[in-house]
Symmetry: C2
Subunit: 319 residues, 2 copies
């Protein structure tokens, strides 16, 4: 989706992925090699102006290798912190962003101490949240920043199923607070690109869950639902181009397609349904696409939402 | 732009172009060969389900070769007629679609007769039009059809400079008439895909100029300005998938970028400007990109329009 947004802007791309069959190979030049293969990484970097990444499980050593040779955004520090739940929580704490109670556990003794302080069932405290929210910010190297309004997310079995933008039932104050937390993180990290911050809403207060230094699944609705998509804005930020307006085109609902590809004809027959398939073979729990609806209001989307939920639910059970 | 729209739908593409350096080679598999190279055409067709084309100067013999092997849309007949101004005008006449006066000229004698009937300066009669309009229809093999509202176009030196959608100063009756003309053509041709019909508006009447059996420059605004773009709808039609709604997101203005690439930063700094660059090297009079603005109303776009016209005008003079 980054490449598709970038092609429209006249940007040329090269991709790096450990899997030679990665879907991106269908739409551009793919260097397929292990992250530890420095020769391949060097080949990948040939004539490249700037590098970005779109998932945070990439080995830090590979990004370090790249960063010594070519500009890499988001900054290495953000990736390093996002890969370590403890560093991440300490960063949140340091910036006055509430977190669930947590305890570092490196030994049996620390485990016992942690449980006695936080309680069961979890060593990272369980948060009885009302809503899961996320907020996406975009920042460039000069410190310009824009924000998409907070989104309400529904997870199931730990996988994002649905995002609604803007988040309903969230007051302007809570919305502003979420954006403020995201801004604090971006400023502290001297951040460049899209940063996603996931939050729990608990009785009008916000508790930070985690951050993701990349374009984010809960921002896929921006392709049709905002004047500038998260993908285009990430590229603009990374390239030092002016950021685009995040103005909304209405209310958006995005459904993930997981584990099965529903009938394209059935989805496209739903008025206003914007289908996105990623060219991935469907396996259980694998996100293989998403569908977005945009309407003047949530009520506007009612019937189409019900139809799509039915089509996408079939894709979850694989039936 | 067809491929970019198609990638989002999970469609795989292969491209054919006589130029090995064609920009599309950056975003997918390109077979570069002459249109007369049947061996290359056969290689191109390997495992392909359906073929479409996006300009009407393609040699008919190449499309015939393809059509004997794989489904090709828009239909051969539409291409054949669009390549012959006389056949085209006769088709318009036969369907009751007004045309400028015209005369077939194959000899000096016919030229003299033609001039005496039509008058100078042109053997195809000069139309003192008030507006240039175009209307784009989409039709699938089952006869389902949707239409974008007529657009007002501004040409200069025979090149499209600007399209405004919906066309201002056009009554609902004239708008409906334009759509009706387009419908007559699509029905007669048993058409599949996007068909563009260019018209002159003369004192509230419409005179057909020409048709184009393909996605059309005057429909580029649909990428951001309509719920479903002409590119996605062309693909849906060609693949037999349900057509998408053509509902508008507001008023759109599209400017072509011709002969020079303006500063990307300057264009992107205009609020709401959607930049599209085609990866083409700029040469005089070559269309290398376009910019679209979408707003709630034409007044809404006033300031941004003036800024963009200045930036794009610089690209025309090459200064």
């Amino acid at each position: 989706m980054l490449a598709i947004a970038g092609y429209q802007l006249g940007i040329e791309f090269r991709f790096f992925d450990p899997h030679s069959g990665a879907p991106v190979g269908q739409i551009g030049e793919l260097v397929a090699a292990e992250y530890t293969d420095h020769e391949a990484l060097a080949r990948f970097l040939n004539d490249v102006d700037v590098v970005t990444y779109e998932f945070e499980s990439i080995p830090l050593s590979a990004v370090e290798f790249v960063a010594e040779r070519v500009r890499v955004y988001p900054p290495l520090k953000a990736l390093q912190i996002a890969q370590d739940r403890l560093l991440e929580k300490k960063l949140f704490e340091g910036l006055g962003i509430p977190t669930p109670p947590f305890a570092p556990v490196d030994s049996l003794q620390e485990l016992v101490q942690g449980v006695s302080r936080i309680g069961l069932p979890l060593v990272e405290g369980f948060v009885p949240f009302q809503h899961e929210l996320s907020v996406l910010g975009v920042r460039d190297a000069k410190g310009c920043e824009v924000f998409y309004p907070p989104v309400q997310n529904v997870h199931q079995d730990g996988i994002l199923r649905k995002s609604t933008a803007p988040a309903p039932n969230v007051s302007p104050e809570v919305s502003a607070l979420a954006i403020d937390y995201c801004r604090r993180l971006m400023t502290e990290l001297d951040y460049v690109g899209v940063l996603a911050l996931e939050l729990f809403s608990v009785d009008g207060a916000l508790v930070a869950n985690e951050m993701a230094p990349r374009v984010h699944n809960s921002g896929h609705w921006t392709i049709e639902g905002a004047e500038t998509s998260q993908f285009e804005n990430h590229l603009r930020a990374v390239l030092g181009w002016p950021l685009g307006t995040t103005a909304l085109r209405g209310t958006s609902v995005m459904f993930n397609i997981i584990g099965h590809i529903p009938s394209r004809e059935a989805v496209l027959a739903v008025e206003g349904a914007h289908l996105h398939l990623y060219g991935k073979a469907p396996t259980e729990k694998r996100k293989v696409g998403h569908v977005t609806l945009v309407g003047a209001s949530p009520e506007d989307l009612g019937r189409a939402t019900i139809e799509l939920e039915r089509l996408v639910a079939r894709s979850v059970t694989g039936s």
